[in-house]
Point group: D2
Chain length 262, copies 4
């Protein structure tokens, strides 16, 4: 029989690990509603993962202490993994790369793929990628991040990463430091410097997670802004990762590499 | 003969003191181009003011060291004054009020009027007035000011005054402090606090003078923003002050009192 | 929402009519959580209202067909009413005013008060009030409203009311029409005109209800923006109305009259 | 503008044609102030161009009627040309390509290069490039352009080009049409459609040339905005083109091709 569409011959089977957390329960709903994906297991934290319900791909959304063990369990069974849990430092990544190198073939065929994704918001990834690309063309760059007033750390992790990406892009292009004639700022209104880039943190009731990158030249300004209104904004990125992970064998850090943004 | 329009019977005669400075030369051009105003004198700093060319109203745009002497000279001759020079602290105002009380009748009739105006930008005055009015209705308020990178002080004077007006309005209404759970901010990304209100200063090539007041409640945000693209934005306020000063005898601080905004 | 008066000696007793609808169920939760308010009845639509649980104030959030009967029931028993239901045209208001004039004394003492409120979002009311106040000071004014793509009408009711308020304020101040040299606009990019003010409607997935008023003079722009992220943003206005209605005898249309904004 | 290559061994000699126009006089000043460039000729329109002062590169900023002749004169002498004049349709480009193919070697060595650049604002080019790249990742996209009220056509050429680039990118990616439930829009508040993308034109005193691209998904929005405050914003792009044209033999349309944005 001839296939006439691009639709895969069978559905991808997906397991969610950490299915009762805030992100995990959103992921369960998103997988159930998605074309071409089939939810085969929803594990709470601490559950025995067993054979993961025969999954092709696992989505791992737990806590830093549990994540490496969960991912190793999947990899050892040839199950691809999309990881949204934080805490993956270089030592953990090194161990994971060795585990993946020793893993059996993936249940989908080919080699096992693992994505470690600090951020699934496609819009935020685009903003960061564009900021790094644009920064060498401008004299001035500053970052403003705005969050709800319950956030305990400043600046946000996304703002710090954005500033680091901007700083590196400007260094590689041989840019001068951003101009700043400030000599009198007794209360610190000029904010933080991250890799030479000024970063400002606003905390406001009603907001969720927002960021603006301002780039200025004589006579012009370019503004890149991302607004994340609720956690639902992460799910298109999670689904895109689930669909693409089998095509990216080995360990990848950052969803931007799947999206052609890096 | 019957007058059929509201146009005054004769033109107002205007002198500009500090006519060769940046603001002063703009004021000369603006007075020359305005309906109902006639430029009769344009004094450089250090010029002998003499009889001010027979002016009804003087516009004083010089430097803090010269301003009190210039204004006293005008007041003693019954000439109304619109003052844009900075440095008028309470001691100077006290002296000025005594001079005005002892002054002869104004050349236009009635008592002499003096306006001390830290800011002539009508849009900026509206922003500040609206910010103070709105602030008690919101849990959170923050101020972001953005200027060219040649500015030496942070925050701007306008931002500091805005925050002070907001802080006072909230105190009078019995508002709680703005919510802020920040416990970790090693580099000062949360900016300055002025009268309890967070203030952030951005410096960017291409910008002139801009300010945003963000007000947040659960589920909503109100944003008040003023952009000043060039000094021309001050002239409508200067002209409005020149036309109104004779109707406001005594010493007034702030153009907002002439515009019904205070 | 700030409480600007001393705490009342006893709690206000509140009934919610239409307690199972989207707005009504939010109101039930908000009253239960509020200082100084006590929920004494939560009626579904069609319930017999009876003595309203002995309420001092009723919040009426039903449908246009039921609202006049519910309000009349309350007024006849001396219970103040805060009404968020739409459909109150002039004929209905006329009937209501007669009912209020004939009503017994309020259970709280004094005369009965009724508020008909088309919009409880305090931030939106502030934006509209500020737009009307600022508009005569500027040459140019335009309105941009932005909503979710499921909205069927354009422009939004709030945008049309804002433009009407701006148009009236400019007419009363004798302003010229907004400047516009457009001679070639084959596809209607310049948007709608409402009372002479250009209005633009954006529809975008991810948005809820947002509006921007842009005001321009030579060299400056003032921007007033309101973002409504969810229905929770209406509750501070509902609670403010409940607390204030007993101090406003008779029929009032528009929460802005309680807030000193009109 | 950043210099990303080593400083050339000798200065580039530059002629400006159309040196007394608004753009041309800015270009003269910019070349004189730039590192590594030396102004060797400044021709008014109608001047005999002669040997162009021995220039390596000419900047052509005249009028559509004169531009092809000027460019042909340069090409025939092996002088590279950066062209900011409009009116270069496909027929003119075809003729130019033939002239370049027959030209002698460039005075700098290698083959002659010509850049036809409809837009030198680097920030605007970045905005357009980013908009096209991001558009396939979002359900909704709309464009708002804002200009001074003396502009006669709507939408702006930049907005129309941006919408066309977005429309093409979405078609190639197989995106659905943008969602829009509007059924009632009697006055055209929804604006124009260009290649399926809604475009809105604002005209406001105080503005110069500004554009915003709004991209929306469930729960998130990405905003790309470019503000052009004055013509000075074009000069970094002109200088970048002058420095790069010798490395791009043949005819190139669009500065984005020199900047790695296309």
């Amino acid at each position: 029989m001839t296939e006439t569409t691009a639709r895969p011959a069978r559905e991808l089977k997906v397991a969610v690990i950490g299915a009762h957390g805030r992100m995990g329960s959103e992921a369960v709903r998103a997988v159930e509603a998605a074309h071409g994906l089939s939810l085969v297991a929803a594990h709470g934290s601490g559950d025995d993962l067993g054979d993961l319900g025969g999954a092709d791909v696992a989505v791992e959304l737990t806590v830093p202490a549990a994540s490496p063990g969960n991912v190793a369990h999947c990899v050892a069974r040839g199950v691809h993994v999309v990881v949204g849990t934080t805490g993956w430092d270089e030592a953990r990544l090194e161990t994971l790369r060795a585990q993946v190198a020793d893993a059996p073939a993936a249940v989908t065929g080919g080699a096992v793929g693992v994505l470690i994704a600090p951020n699934f918001a496609v819009g935020a990834l685009l903003m960061m990628s564009f900021a790094a690309k644009a920064a060498p063309f401008f004299e001035s760059v500053e970052v403003i991040e705005l969050h709800h007033p319950g956030k305990v750390d400043a600046p946000s992790g996304t703002a710090a990463r954005t500033a680091a990406m901007i700083g590196r892009a400007r260094d590689e292009a041989g840019c001068d430091a951003v101009p700043d004639a400030t000599t009198h700022d007794p209360d610190g209104a000029r904010g933080a410097r991250v890799d030479g880039i000024p970063v400002h943190s606003v905390r406001l009731r009603g907001l969720t997670a927002h960021q603006e990158v301002l780039l200025g030249n004589a006579g012009e300004m370019l503004t890149l802004r991302h607004d994340s209104f609720d956690r639902g904004s992460f799910m298109p990125g999670v689904l895109a990762a689930v669909r693409a992970v089998a095509d990216h064998p080995g360990v990848t850090v950052g969803l931007e590499h799947y999206l052609g943004l890096a």
